[in-house]
């Protein structure tokens, strides 16, 4: 750039012009973003609720209606009244005869790439996890995302034993991961070949969550059954 060009450049754009350009574009862009956000927000919320709803009935085979319960800080179960965002929630599913099918529980934890959020169904009758669905994950497409669709892996959760110890304080056999082809016990999760980290993440999330929730649910089981008409 020679001197003439430089002078021309300086003469071309004053500070005001630069601020005006950046500020103007900034204002326009912020308007566009806020507009897009406001327009899509209700649709996104609706999508997420629908997806959760669908998943609840997926992980509780046979359930046709559901009721949301909240778990209070002293580990009691109460019927959820209004929408309270920061509270531990579980979803109880009932069949046509208003009998309790099971309880769907949301859990989350660190996966291979990002946080994995999943939902699983617990059957008090079988003392086992009877269904499993991934709500949110960014696992490697083609490998880690098999935790969502691999039929062999998903069959782990047809009857995953989480029965409690005699005093009801913790699962008798915490969920553990087994290498592919080495599953011998009903509380083991058989890992996906090539997606060990994602499989381990799911195992860890479930182990932690069942350890926390199953004792609470078992303790308050009568409440889920008593309230089933509401």
């Amino acid at each position: 750039m020679n001197e003439f060009d430089l002078k021309k450049l300086i003469a071309q754009a004053s500070s005001w012009e630069m601020i005006r350009a950046l500020g103007g574009i900034g204002i326009l862009c912020s308007l566009l973003i806020v507009f897009a956000f406001q327009v899509t927000l209700p649709i996104i919320e609706k999508n997420k609720t629908e997806y959760l709803e669908k998943s609840i009935f997926n992980v509780l085979p046979g359930a046709t209606s559901r009721v949301t319960y909240k778990i209070t800080n002293d580990n009691n179960v109460e019927l959820m009244q209004a929408d309270e965002p920061k509270v531990r929630k579980v979803y109880a599913g009932y069949n046509d005869q208003s009998e309790l099918v099971g309880i769907a529980i949301e859990a989350g934890g660190q996966g291979f790439q990002d946080v994995i959020r999943l939902l699983y169904g617990y059957s008090p009758e079988k003392k086992a996890v009877i269904g499993f669905a991934v709500l949110e994950s960014k696992e490697t497409p083609g490998l880690g995302d098999k935790i969502e669709k691999d039929p062999v892996f998903l069959s782990n959760f047809d009857a995953l034993d989480v029965s409690l110890t005699d005093d009801g304080s913790a699962p008798k056999n915490p969920i553990e991961m087994a290498k592919s082809g080495n599953k011998h016990n009903p509380w083991q999760i058989e890992a996906i070949t090539g997606a060990t980290i994602s499989s381990r993440a799911v195992t860890k999330i479930l182990k932690q969550s069942t350890g926390e929730f199953i004792p609470i649910i078992e303790k308050n089981l009568a409440k889920f059954k008593r309230d089933e008409t509401s």
Partner: protein, 219 residues
């Protein structure tokens, strides 16, 4: 990039066609390799990524072109990035609204459209110097070319690596997929194979049968 400055203001189909073929952003310019390699592991992801990028490309090119006299040279990069980032954010919300499944599949890569050098490249090299109409056509062509390239890569990788095409199983249960094709290594391999093919085509068109390797510079 040899945009002819002589034929100013006149719309021509060449503005559109060149992105598809002669200046294809992936196969000829070898730009935007990050999303190309990362999201081309299945045909569905490739198509969705291509369309999202095309949308951002068209909107940002048009807007940059509309504001080209208003933006001083000194702040142009900041302005372009601001415009591009805005449309990427909008695309992110739109995809979430259209389908959560798709959003789950594309994951982190939507946000990374911001740093796709094709978009900033077209804003800087074309849209900031040309009329809105020409910029629109150019962006449309480049977007279509990018989508086409991604789709060809995604199709090959999905068919060989998973044994499906758009999620439909092709070979039945007995097919043992080549896992490596959906991993990064397979991406480089397929891209290399396609680049070889396109360079071979180019050379043949020039009626020079000897293969020259110094023609392309890979970023």
């Amino acid at each position: 990039m040899n945009t002819t400055e002589s034929s100013v203001n006149k719309l021509s189909t060449d503005d559109f066609i060149k992105g598809l073929w002669k200046e294809n952003p992936v196969f000829i310019q070898v730009l935007g390799m990050c999303p190309v390699l990362a999201v081309s592991n299945t045909a569905t992801n490739a198509l969705a990524m291509g369309l999202a990028t095309t949308f951002v490309l068209i909107m940002s090119s048009t807007l940059v072109s509309a504001f080209r006299k208003f933006i001083p040279k000194q702040v142009r990069i900041a302005s372009f990035i601001l415009i591009i980032a805005t449309f990427v954010t909008i695309v992110d919300y739109c995809i979430q609204a259209i389908s959560l499944e798709l959003y789950k599949a594309l994951g982190a890569f939507i946000a990374l459209i911001v740093v796709n050098c094709i978009i900033l490249g077209r804003a800087e090299a074309f849209a900031s110097k040309n009329t809105i109409g020409k910029s629109f056509l150019d962006a449309l062509g480049m977007g279509a070319g990018f989508t086409f390239a991604l789709l060809t890569l995604g199709a090959v990788r999905e068919i060989i690596g998973v044994g499906t095409f758009f999620g439909v199983s092709l070979f039945g249960h007995h097919y043992e997929p080549w896992m490596v094709m959906i991993l990064p290594g397979g991406g480089f391999f397929s891209l290399g194979a396609w680049l070889l093919f396109f360079n071979w085509l180019k050379e043949r068109q020039k009626k020079r049968p000897t293969l020259q390797t110094e023609g392309e510079v890979i970023q």
